[in-house]
């Protein structure tokens, strides 16, 4: 069965195109875009880790190593599409247009971090594993019903495939032929549990067979494979051909979260041979004449500034307002909740 789902690669570890049929489509603009966003979200990610260490934000789940997955897939989407991320997919949402200040706020325990920019269809990160898959199915079903060509993408990990909602989501998507991209980042671990103990199937892509759904396994550290295969799935969905399951094989370089210690469960050396997706793209850029040392330095400076500005934005953001505890539970506060709110605001005064 594994044989039916070989891992698709467009660019190898050395940054060489292994599938020359893509040569033409890989132009300057795409390369720079991929590079810009991957570098940008990495800058964000590393800053977030250091903020957590300083106690300036809460527990944080880094995505380093998964930048090709997140940027490649997000760039394959259109403006009006819907994004349903997990807690580890803020690389994708930042690329898609989420606000960086609010991203920091989110990781600082602020609900303001769940509020997407106007017009942007970005759901709050799903914390209960696999639940967002159904939301993506529902939202894209709504687009289909409205007759638009918009799609939804659901991000989820290898561990998520064990939950009932993964299954119910894929079944709904296939039965109603919703325009949904089921984008799996197989980073080899669900916290400490390696994929071999998570499932007995050799691939995640083969799970598509259960739903009579197209499935594909790609090298998730190859930003071109991610970009073009996601784009293919998006186009199929737009054209009314229903959902696709994409397994992007990748690697989480760091800890599950800043509260996690991977040395407890990952054999030392495991993953060391994996070429970082950003390095891989840079090799390609160097090989193919896209690399401009000075421009990259300038870009890095600019990104550092952007991130620092966002950190400042977080710090200067209005303090948490206790009224927000009450005001958004219902469209209109029920009387007993109104009473609780009044009681509490009074309490705070005295």
């Amino acid at each position: 069965m594994e044989a039916s789902f070989p891992m698709k690669q467009i660019m190898d570890e050395e940054g060489r195109l292994v599938d020359p049929s893509y040569q033409e489509q890989i132009d300057e603009k795409l390369v720079q875009q991929l590079h810009y966003h991957m570098l940008r979200i990495r800058t964000f990610d590393r800053k977030a880790i250091s903020l957590q260490r300083q106690g300036r934000i809460g527990t944080y789940p880094p995505f380093e190593g998964q930048e090709a997955c997140q940027v490649g897939s997000a760039l394959a989407l259109g403006e009006g599409d819907w994004v349903f991320p997990t807690y580890r997919d803020h690389g994708a949402t930042l690329t898609f247009g989420a606000d960086m200040v609010r991203m920091f706020l989110y990781w600082n325990g602020r609900q303001e971090g769940c509020v997407a920019p106007p017009g942007k269809h970005i759901f709050p990160a799903a914390v209960p594993i696999a639940t967002q898959i159904l939301h993506a199915v529902g939202a894209s079903w709504a687009e289909k019903r409205k007759g638009t060509d918009r799609v939804a993408i659901a991000y989820f990990g290898d561990g998520a495939t064990s939950e009932g909602d993964f299954h119910e989501g894929l079944n709904f998507a296939s039965v109603f032929q919703t325009p949904t991209i089921l984008f799996n980042q197989n980073n080899g671990y669900a916290i400490s549990v390696p994929i071999e103990r998570q499932m007995n199937s050799k691939t995640i892509a083969q799970k598509s067979v259960a739903y009579g759904m197209p499935g594909i396994r790609i090298d998730g550290n190859d930003c071109f494979a991610v970009y073009f295969e996601t784009k293919r799935a998006v186009e199929a969905a737009r054209e009314g051909n229903g959902p696709t399951l994409i397994e992007a094989v990748t690697w989480r370089t760091g800890a599950h979260t800043t509260a996690d210690d991977p040395t407890k469960y990952r054999p030392s050396g495991k993953g060391k041979d994996i070429v970082d997706p950003l390095v891989r793209l840079e090799r390609f850029m160097k090989n193919d004449g896209y690399w401009d040392e000075q421009a990259v330095k300038t870009l890095q400076d600019k990104l550092n500034d952007e991130v620092e500005t966002a950190v400042k934005g977080m710090a200067e953001f209005p303090a948490p307002n206790p009224e927000d505890l009450f005001d958004h539970v219902f469209a209109v506060l029920p009387p007993q909740l109104q009473e609780q709110k009044e009681f509490y605001l009074e309490f705070l005064k005295g």
Binding site: P128, T131, G138, D165, A331
Partner: protein, 341 residues
């Protein structure tokens, strides 16, 4: 006897009414909203071709098509989870859970998303949807088909819970629930589906969510109930009247948010209370009502509040359900014993 709900209809000058059962009223409520609002979409197991196992959706797929009255896979979490996506993207899903005992597989979706999405996005996204579900025992149904799980939802912030006792309220509350900007659990007393009949206006109308009704007026004691327990409460009140005990009978109609003013004003008048519900006693909604009375009527209470509820056991197989359920006799005795305290 004050028939608050009929009064409302009459006050509003609605004359074109028809006598119907509760299941017919629900069917009409759904039809009304499918007609009135293009975004209304019905989802559930066997609701389409089959018209629902209780025929609540009979004829609706024929008239509104398979895209608006959708037979789904057998997948409760799927139904609710997909409805979240539909609801945030412009639709008004009305999802049927075939029996309340089958809502549990969807509990996670309701608890972590349906109820919390507005809060966590500060209103940027919301989930205006209705979960319809037949509940309760008394019709000799198989195991798990007779649960009365309101307390699992009244404890869940962000969700309203509604439970009509008669056809008029059923249609009016259902329409109000579908029009509500927030998610509503709509509990239908299956035992009353065909056992209750009444005048129902043919046009669109609503019964306000959050408002109970005073069904009978008395001075000595307040009986508080809802849904399938209402006919029993009314009969018990009648029996008590013959013993010289005159009762207010309150039909809560909405279980969250509770109509605390109605409860307080009645209890402050009578000073004595009997609460009736068919769910288990421990953790049942009766406890919340007692607490609210503790908060608002402490100095008015003349006797401990009495409760007639299901026992703290799983709803039994049907050979024993008559022993589990409150009965008119148990309620009457409880009224008497509270009165004589």
């Amino acid at each position: 006897m004050v028939m608050a709900t009929k009064m409302e209809a009459i006050q509003a000058g609605r004359t074109s009414t028809k006598v119907m059962t509760m299941i017919q009223a629900i069917n009409q409520g759904l039809r009304t909203m499918l007609e009135a609002d293009e975004t209304t979409i019905l989802l559930g197991e066997d609701i389409g071709k089959n018209g629902g196992v209780f025929r609540a959706t009979e004829g609706l797929q024929d008239d509104f098509g398979e895209e608006r009255v959708v037979d789904t896979p057998l997948s409760e979490s799927g139904i609710i989870g997909a409805s979240v996506g539909l609801a945030v993207n412009g639709f008004k899903p009305v999802a049927e859970m075939q029996f309340m005992g089958f809502v549990y597989p969807a509990y996670d979706q309701i608890m972590t998303h349906v109820s919390r999405l507005r809060m966590k996005t500060m209103g940027r996204f919301s989930v205006p949807m209705v979960v319809r579900t037949p509940y309760g025992a008394g019709i000799r149904a198989p195991e798990i088909h007779s649960d009365s799980a309101e307390a699992l939802f009244t404890h869940m912030p962000g969700i309203k819970v509604v439970c009509p006792s008669n056809p008029y309220d059923a249609k009016g509350l259902l329409i109000a629930a579908i029009e509500d900007p927030d998610p509503v659990i709509f509990m239908e007393p299956m035992r009353s589906y065909r056992a209750t009949r009444g005048d129902v206006p043919e046009e669109k109308y609503t019964v306000e969510i959050g408002k109970g009704a005073l069904l009978e007026e008395g001075t000595d004691l307040t009986v508080i109930a809802w849904g399938a327990m209402i006919p029993l409460a009314q009969k018990a009140a009648k029996a008590a009247a013959q013993l010289g005990i005159h009762c207010d009978v309150l039909d809560l109609r909405t279980l969250y948010p509770l109509d605390l003013d109605l409860i307080a004003s009645s209890v402050q008048k009578t000073g004595r209370v009997v609460i009736v519900h068919e769910a288990q006693r421990t953790g049942g909604l009766g406890n919340d009502i007692i607490s609210s009375i503790n908060d608002t009527c402490f100095l008015h209470l003349r006797a401990p509040i009495g409760r007639v509820t299901g026992f703290d056991v799983p709803v039994p197989f049907f050979a024993l359900e008559e022993h589990y359920l409150p009965t008119v006799k148990r309620i009457t005795q409880q009224i008497e014993s509270v009165y004589r305290f």
